[in-house]
Every structure is written in structure tokens, then in C-alpha cells.
Assembly symmetry: C3
Homo-oligomer: 112 residues x 3
């Protein structure tokens, strides 16, 4: 199992939920974060001396999928949220060793 | 070390904190998320055409434990939060390579 | 690639952003959590019988870096946020298998 974690523009959450629904991807979770990437968010030069990093609001969406679903999930996310402008976001893939459905005690891919 | 991450019903947080206290599990962190599972949260059929995925509020609780504590921690969570109804939640186990206590510089299981 | 995840005192976020800016560390994300460590946050003894675990507000900052940047990043965090008092926080290091910049499709360390 892998965790596919996408950090996206807030306005792309609804389109992405739609894409997941159509692709019958069911389990996911979502939270708000603040972040910056290569552009340091936005750097304020105040009287030429003080600099500050600016954090922009983003949405983080996490989906744990079977190993053989990772690339399709990544492609679906990119196809749905990409605008081509700076700040489109990042996808991270992380290992997950076990998943348990609390109601039934099922484990592994069956529990996803 | 492993991260045991449980996504539970909000009303189960206080009972779970109690269980952890009794089991002398000390380090943990908690946050609010929105999520959906197999039932797509709740799908609204509007005039028979539009569908929407609904995200329900959940609590995510994270506990980093030594490898040999994983199964006991999972069992404690299930025993405390399981109702047998749909939406009881999920547990994910993920690898953690290092832990550092910032105050002392301790590393590994000693730093948990 | 590794995820360096630091849980710190809220008042240390601005100094840490400054340190990252000076070290030219660019990508990161931040969120608010509640947590407790070895001291169980704070335990309330009420009439000698009821006990409760108290969760303190903390900031979680996540930075995905190339493998050879992990130790420098950890050191920078410790040097910036350590006070020597209880509650200074924790750093967790976790594996990340892939990173994708959504705008360009770049992968791996180039996408960080
Ligand atoms: N190395 C990183 N570690 C952790 N989070 C990151 C990292 N890089 C980016 N992020 C998160 O992803 C969000 C979006 O990043 P962003 O799309 O600006 O990436 P970028 O590398 O700057 O690409 P672009 O040049 O297209 O803007 C950031 O706001 C931050 O939350
Ligand atoms: N595959 C997944 N990836 C990420 N998060 C998930 C996944 N599946 C479930 N979750 C999270 O767990 C929460 C609870 O899920 P839920 O208990 O409804 O799981 P389920 O598989 O639908 O089981 P049940 O049939 O018992 O309802 C969701 O709201 C979501 O936050
Ligand atoms: N084992 C753990 N698993 C998950 N989160 C943890 C763990 N231990 C600590 N944390 C998180 O780190 C935060 C800070 O912990 P804290 O600095 O109090 O650690 P500590 O081990 O008690 O060290 P100290 O003795 O210096 O206080 C907690 O509020 C919690 O969010
Ligand atoms: Mg950017
Ligand atoms: Mg469900
Ligand atoms: Mg402590």
C-alpha cells in the first residue's frame, strides 16, 4: 500500500473530488495547510532590508491505495489540477505498511 | 519505530485519550480532518443527475511507538473506538526512520 | 528523499521560517496540531480520582529534502527552536518514495 499525498490549490478540491468519484476512488481525507515552494511563497522586501517568507493556503488530500493503483492516481490528480502556472502543487508518495478497517478488523488491500 | 495513525469518530477522542493514559502511552498528536471511506461519505443525488461526495469530520490521532508496541497499540485503539457501525474508521501503520527529542538530542526509541 | 517533520512550540515558527530562508530551504508546509509528550501534557487530578490528559497547541512543520540534506536540516531546526525546557518538541524522519511537481511533471530530487 502507498499513501498518495497531493498538495493542491484550494479551488481544485471540488474538481478533484469529482474526478475521484468518477474513477470510483473511495477512501480519502483532506485538511487545510499553509505552505511555500520554490518561490518561497512570496518574499516581502521591506525598505530593502527585512525579508519574510509568506505561506499560502493549500489543501492537502491523502489517499491510501494498493501499489498497482499509484500511477493511475497520480495521473488523475495531475490531469485534474494542473493549470501550468506556478503554484500548481506537489504530489508525494509514501510507504504504508498496514491498513486496518476498525469495524471489521480487515487488513491490507481489502481494508482500503 | 512506527507511526500508528488512527482516523476515528470525533466523539471517540476522549475515550481513546483515557485508554492511552491507562496504558501509559504518552506521546501523541491530534488534528481535525475531513474524510470519506467506502460509502463516499454521503452522495447527494440532485434531480437525478448531479452527484457529490460528502466529507465527514473525523479526528486523526498519531502515535509513534517502538516496533514491538505496534500490535498492542492497534488493539487498544480498536477495543476503545469500535462500535460495529459503518464509519468506525481506519488505522494506518507507517515506517518512521528516526525520532529526535529536541531538548536533549536523544534519538531512536529513547526519544519517544 | 526524506520527510523531516518537526513538532515545535508555536512561538518558534517565525524564527524557524527565518532560519530556513537564510539556509535557502524553500519547500515546506505547516499546520496546527494538539499534542502531548512524556509529561502527558498536563494531568489534572480532580478530587484525587479523575485524571485527564491535556493536549497543548503545537506547530507541525514538514519539509521534504534530498537524503543528503537530512542531517543539516535536523541540526538547523534544533539550533533554532531549542530552549532546553520541557516541551521543546520532536523531530521525526520518514521515508518518501516519490515527489512530483504538478506544473512540470518533474520527479525525484529535481521536483523538491
Ligand atoms: N519540499 C517540500 N516539502 C514540503 N512541502 C512542500 C515542498 N515543496 C512544496 N511543498 C508544498 O507544496 C505546495 C505547493 O508547492 P508549489 O506548487 O509552489 O511547488 P514548487 O516546487 O514551487 O513548484 P512551482 O514552481 O510550479 O510553483 C507548497 O505550498 C507546500 O505546501
Ligand atoms: N483509502 C483511504 N485513504 C485515506 N483515508 C481513508 C481511506 N479510507 C478511509 N479513510 C479515512 O478514514 C475515515 C473513516 O473511514 P471509514 O471508517 O468510513 O472506512 P470504510 O472503509 O468506509 O469502513 P466502513 O465500511 O466501516 O465505513 C474516512 O473518513 C477517511 O478520512
Ligand atoms: N511518541 C510520539 N508520537 C507522536 N507525537 C509525539 C510523540 N511524542 C511527542 N509528540 C508530539 O511532540 C510534541 C512535543 O513533545 P515534547 O517536546 O513534550 O516531547 P517529550 O518527549 O515530552 O520531551 P520533553 O521531556 O523535552 O518535554 C507533543 O505535543 C506531541 O505533539
Ligand atoms: Mg511554487
Ligand atoms: Mg465508511
Ligand atoms: Mg514533553
Amino acid at each position: 500500500m502507498k499513501l498518495v499525498e497531493a498538495i493542491i490549490r484550494p479551488e481544485k478540491l471540488e474538481p478533484l473530488k469529482d474526478s475521484f468519484l468518477k474513477a470510483d476512488i473511495k477512501g480519502m481525507n483532506v485538511r487545510q495547510i499553509l505552505g511555500c515552494g520554490n518561490q518561497h511563497g512570496w518574499i516581502a522586501h521591506n525598505r530593502g532590508s527585512s525579508v519574510m517568507m509568506n505561506m499560502l493556503p493549500k489543501i492537502e488530500i491523502k489517499i491510501v491505495v494498493a501499489d498497482d493503483k499509484v500511477e493511475d492516481t497520480v495521473k488523475l490528480i495531475i490531469d485534474t489540477v494542473r493549470t501550468g502556472e506556478i503554484g500548481d502543487g506537489k504530489i508525494f508518495v509514501k510507504p504504508v505498511e498496514e491498513c486496518i478497517r476498525i469495524r471489521t478488523g480487515e487488513r491490507g488491500d481489502d481494508a482500503l
